[in-house]
Amino acid sequence: MSDHEYTPKSNFGKWFNDRLPLLTLANHLTDYPTPKNLNYWWTFGGILTFCLVTQIVTGLVLAMHYIAHADMAFDSVEHIMRDVNYGWLIRYIHANGASMFFLAVYIHIFRSLFYGSYKAPREIIWIIGIIIYLLMMAAAFMGYVLPWGQMSFWGATVITNLFSAIPLVGEGIVTWLWGGYSVDNPTLTRFFTLHYLIPFLILGLVVLHIWALHVPGNNNPIGIDVKKPSKDTVPFHPYIVIKDAFALLMFMIVFAFFVFYTPNILGHADNYIEANPLVTPAHIVPEWYLLPFYAILRSVPDKLMGVIAMLSAIFILAALPWLDTSKIRSAVFRPLYRQFYWILVADVLILGYVGAMPAEGLYLLIARVATTYYFLHFLVILPILGFKERTLPVPLSITEPVLGGSSNLAAARDDSRLEKLK
């Protein structure tokens, strides 16, 4: 994106850069022109990178002390908590880090939904993001199995059993996944291996995600393209770096509060009971970040259809750039979409809530309505909205509303309008 060729100053720099243009890359990253009107919802990309690195670093240390064996896993976790120097800190950061990671990724995804960041020319960024999200769910699920508590064991049993819904080969696949006839030691060791592998896959995809981002550049709150880089953008460093750092620190305060003062609030008490294949817990619930999908799964009476519905709920997101037919990106200029957006947010929260409740009576009914609405939003409302909606006039450039402009354009200045709508 840089509009000038970069040449290193020193001779050694030139020699090196001709052979491996690392300095050009570093220069691109610091100079990367970023729309100057980005708001704080755009800081979550940096926050997510921090989360990933934190999980990898703490995870490596944990892996040095953890023993992936059905008879020893639970003991080794207690060993980490008691006898490893600062083991309790590392484990609590890792366990709560998973939740913080999902909190950040949900904000990141919903930011994208609001400002239409998935639309052309950013479809590939979006699809890579969905793959990262899928891998995150797989990694988190397998990570939750490793302490080998009751929820680990029974969660693993429930989720792997979903594959048995596949006609003909389902049962065979489940046996293959387990490495036996029930969730047992072979399951644990392979989950550990995959849990170790996936974060590095995610890291690779994050590089692609950022690379794909740096081709068209960032979307922004008013959702129009950068017209004049010199006027509409600021260099990534120091402007965005310092702003991201500030937001990250705020995020870390929340993170630290969980780690140091309520480290177990997001987990389930049953996971401090060692796995016992003979005793089933009263309610088997996944971690909070998977609850909306769990609700969708349980809202369909047929097992196979339930699994299909759950998977479709995720994969439908990948088709979003084509399901949303509106040419306007930002919801700031789409008054109707804005309302449907908030209904969707509420819908997903409701799904999360009923996912934690027993699937019966009123809860089941609510889950069914919410599931139907979820699909309705993506398959019916979004495609029609693009044709029917009367959008507001879009400013001519990023600078114009930023610098004031007419009263109409001032509306786009930042998202203070949105605040009123909330």
Binding site: A245, M250, M252
Partner: protein, 259 residues
Amino acid sequence: MKKFLKLFFYTLFLISFLPQVYAAEKVEYLTTDWSFKGLFGKFDRSALQRGYHVYTEVCSSCHSMKYLSYRNLAQEGGPEFTEAEAKAIAASFEVTDGPNSDGEMFTRPGKLSDKFVMPYENVKAAQAANGGAYPPDMSVLVKARGGGVDYIYSLLQGYEDPPAGVILDDGVYYNKYMYGNKIKMANQLSDGLIEYSDGTKATVEQMSKDVTTFLMWAAEPHLESRHKMGFKAIVYLIILTILVYFSMKRIWSRIETKV
């Protein structure tokens, strides 16, 4: 910026409500002034020592604590018995060791490095001795129960005569805080059951409080250093956040856009 701060505080506010939401789902548990709660929460040393006393005299005949070692009793942030006291406690237990050079197992007095001696050889033996119910290991018991310390504290004081119409089998007791109200552990505590060496009156309430405090420590032996470090970490983060905020303001003042 204003909006961001507002949202930040809403989040904190919501988070502060989480514990209540979770606690509200079941019966109202008894509670007491736990010294280890809150930002600066610490264990009450004498309560931990008394709690250990209750554990050895009462609970330990059925409940194991397999993740604790006698050395833990002398560790910082725990009951903090002196090393000599902890050694004496360890030595009062017979530990099976071996095999020796003749291939025989033998018993010897316990050492600081030994784990707490288990009341039963294995789970099956524990079940056989307790009418089929396994007395759970108490090392992480507080964290393994939804209500946490309040639940354990209530359960110990929750024994009642069953209401009319509730018929209990032999070896099953009625406890108003137990899930389903039926428990296989008989009421263990009664006023004056043990004699505290520090002269504290051993009421049921006092013993429940002491032993629950002890169990909390057993489940979270590093709670005190966690709270201490947490406070420092958060103060550090807040100061750094303020500094970065002003740097950010300064850097962004070079252009017209506000942050």
